[in-house]
Subunit: 419 residues, 2 copies
């Protein structure tokens, strides 16, 4: 019988142990996981095959089934990724600052693990390994709750992790899984604030809404990107075509892909047909508001009039909203109204407009003369990515290892008292 | 008719304007508030007198009435405090890091305002000015909700602020007040996640619980300190008496005051009577568990047996829980079970025990050979204090101006696309 309070308690105890481990001990645990993963590869694949069979029976699409599928090669990649995490620098234990107080006491602000994290995710089973290893590296315990489509795969992977943890002398409760697909356990997890310090949902808008509304625990929302590029009248229009194409086409299914193109009215007549031609090569469908539609209707592009909500959608597909604006003010107002504050970009040669856009567009990542596709832990040099936050507290944008830590203050005296 | 959605919308618009203000503009607004406060001092005092009259009629205690009371002198102090905030360095706009990406793009991590804060507080009316000025300094808009006991005083103070903001060319909606004491508006505020980015409750455990359970917005919990000192067997016992006295007696009504004294069994017979004698001078009541009681029962101190929940109470009064422990492990276990993770201290001359305590006690502030009373923004050199956080996300311990900010990523390219 699954008891989430017990799960939470044991996670907190494990977290306290983990917090005392040094980098070497944590890395040993990671290497043990990689090894165990290779060792139990066949079992994992067997369980995954059962998940896939169920998925086929339930009529899941080929694209989704491919996301759920594990292969020998994919398991090897997972093991290789775990070894890479072991090689990353450990942020825990670093002193963020070290000062002397007015009374001679030493005051240290030191990076420490957060404690217990709750991660709720959908689809791909590699997230299980991914999240668990990043949490372990930073000395955090984690309670995982994956999607029902890969239930058996996830259980198998958590078994791998727990076996490895025990072999490496780590508390196996550092990584636990909610092994009952009943949704009520998600609600219970979200209310475990005595034991869980942070919730990271990785999934669609519905999951985020559920977490925001039900959680007693701080939630890192994010991963949903309604991203904009504004092509100013001074933009280098030749390069702008490349940037827009890259942002839209290179990988349309991800959160930092472009959703809406805003074009200054003074260059719209010239730029829109050019970019439409280029996007037509990748069969991008354009959803154009009135003015843009008028310019584009006789082009080669697949263009249809924009619907009412088309500027509030994260497309995740080869579709692009297009709008002509009077200038930077209208562009910024549009972004304030429709952006999910993930990634927005201005293409301009005008310094004042560049500065204005950078200052006034308050998204997690704001770009000047660059594709929105760069918002990514790897691209930013963080070494890893747990999630992309679009909320304001604790972390914004790509979250790496450091964002899985907090700090504590350490005051060192010699019998000091406050006057 | 109070409409919280409208309040939230206008706060968000004001926050966007404020975010574009430079330090000088924000400081001018602060100086205008100080001036207006002096100018409208009589009006503020008149409204406060009405609050006090109601409070007396409702039978509020003298201590509470004194907390609510404003005097000419206190208003002058408030104005002086506002001028001090104007002098503090502005964290907004500072680049936290500036790197070059692998592809030559410049990547800046820049400190920016959070946006809109919601602050729910009880009692003292100076919090209205205090919180509003710290928010303005950091470019944030704020929605305030004070206690009903100072309803009129708070409204008068918000009028002062809004008049000053308008005079200084700032959006007056940067500081708004929920001017209806109905509790349902607290719930509405807590669900305004589309417009409010962070909730800071400043009050008792009930308020914090309400915020945790009802809020859709990240809540900074804190301000409740069940604080411990562990006197190890190697402690300098003479100094230990001073430290314990300071932590308990200097200002017993605050959150960083001592609540529980843990003493190593090998020094309990010697230390407990000494410290009890000293605490008796300030008429501290001791709530002692069995072993401690046995040692203390014939002393001069006012000592009674500890009740069941006495180690889970923040006393905020001249009362102290006392317990004898077998050693550092039992001390740490006790702290894990009973501490609110605010401030805990070890007094020891043993380096290994010092390190163990610092590593394993995961409180916002951990001390070695020092009083717990140092956990304070002013003492830590932060220049100001909005709250003391005992949760893990975003900020821990005293929150100064920097903790009222977040960051954004700025990527500067020259037509860069992702390969």
């Amino acid at each position: 019988m699954l008891n989430l309070v017990e799960l939470g308690k044991s996670a907190k105890i494990a977290a306290r142990q983990l917090a005392t481990f040094n980098t070497q001990q944590k890395n040993n645990a990671l290497l043990a996981i990689a090894e165990e993963l290779e060792k139990q590869s066949d079992d994992v694949l067997k369980q995954n095959a059962l998940d896939i069979k169920d998925g086929e029976a339930e009529g899941l699409s080929k694209a989704i089934l491919d996301r759920l599928l594990l292969t020998k090669k994919r398991v090897e990649c997972m093991a290789a990724d775990v070894r890479k995490v072991a090689e990353l620098p450990d942020p825990v234990g670093k002193n963020i600052s070290e000062t002397e107080m007015y009374n001679g006491m030493k005051l240290i602000k030191r990076r420490v693990p957060i404690g217990v994290l709750g991660v709720i995710y959908e689809a791909r089973p590699n997230v299980t390994i991914d999240v668990a290893t990043l949490c372990l590296k930073t000395g955090n315990a984690v309670i995982l709750r994956g999607g029902k489509e890969t239930f058996r795969s996830n259980i198998a992977l958590v078994n791998v992790i727990q076996t490895a943890l025990e072999n490496a002398g780590c508390p196996k409760n550092a990584v636990q899984y909610i092994d009952n697909p009943d949704r009520k356990y998600v609600t219970e997890l979200l209310q475990l604030h005595e034991y869980v310090d942070m919730i990271i949902p990785r999934g669609g808008a519905g999951l985020h809404k559920l977490c925001i509304e039900q959680s007693f625990i701080p939630v890192i929302t994010g991963g949903i990107g309604i991203c904009h590029i504004f092509v100013d009248e001074s933009a280098d229009l030749t390069r702008a075509v490349d940037v827009v194409e890259n942002a839209k086409v290179q990988r349309p299914s991800v959160c930092n892909a472009l959703d809406t193109l805003l074009v200054h009215k003074n260059v719209a007549e010239k730029f829109l047909p050019e970019v439409a031609d280029r996007l037509a090569e990748s069969e991008v469908e354009l959803r154009a508001e009135k003015k843009a539609f008028k310019i584009l209707e006789n082009s080669n592009a697949l263009v249809i009039p924009a619907g009412e909500d088309d500027f509030d959608r994260e497309w995740l597909a080869l579709i692009l909203g297009v709008k002509v604006v009077d200038g930077i003010d209208e562009a910024i107002t549009h972004i304030h109204e429709h952006s999910s504050e993930h990634s927005d970009s201005i293409l301009t040669q005008d310094d004042a407009n560049a500065e204005k856009f950078i200052n006034e567009v308050n998204s997690a990542a704001v770009y000047l003369n660059a594709s929105t596709r760069f918002t990514d832990g790897g691209e930013f040099g963080l070494g890893a990515e747990v999630a992309v936050s679009t909320q304001k507290l604790h972390a914004r944008g790509p979250m790496g290892l450091e964002e899985l830590t907090t700090y504590k203050w350490i005051g060192i005296g010699d019998g000091h008292i406050r006057e």
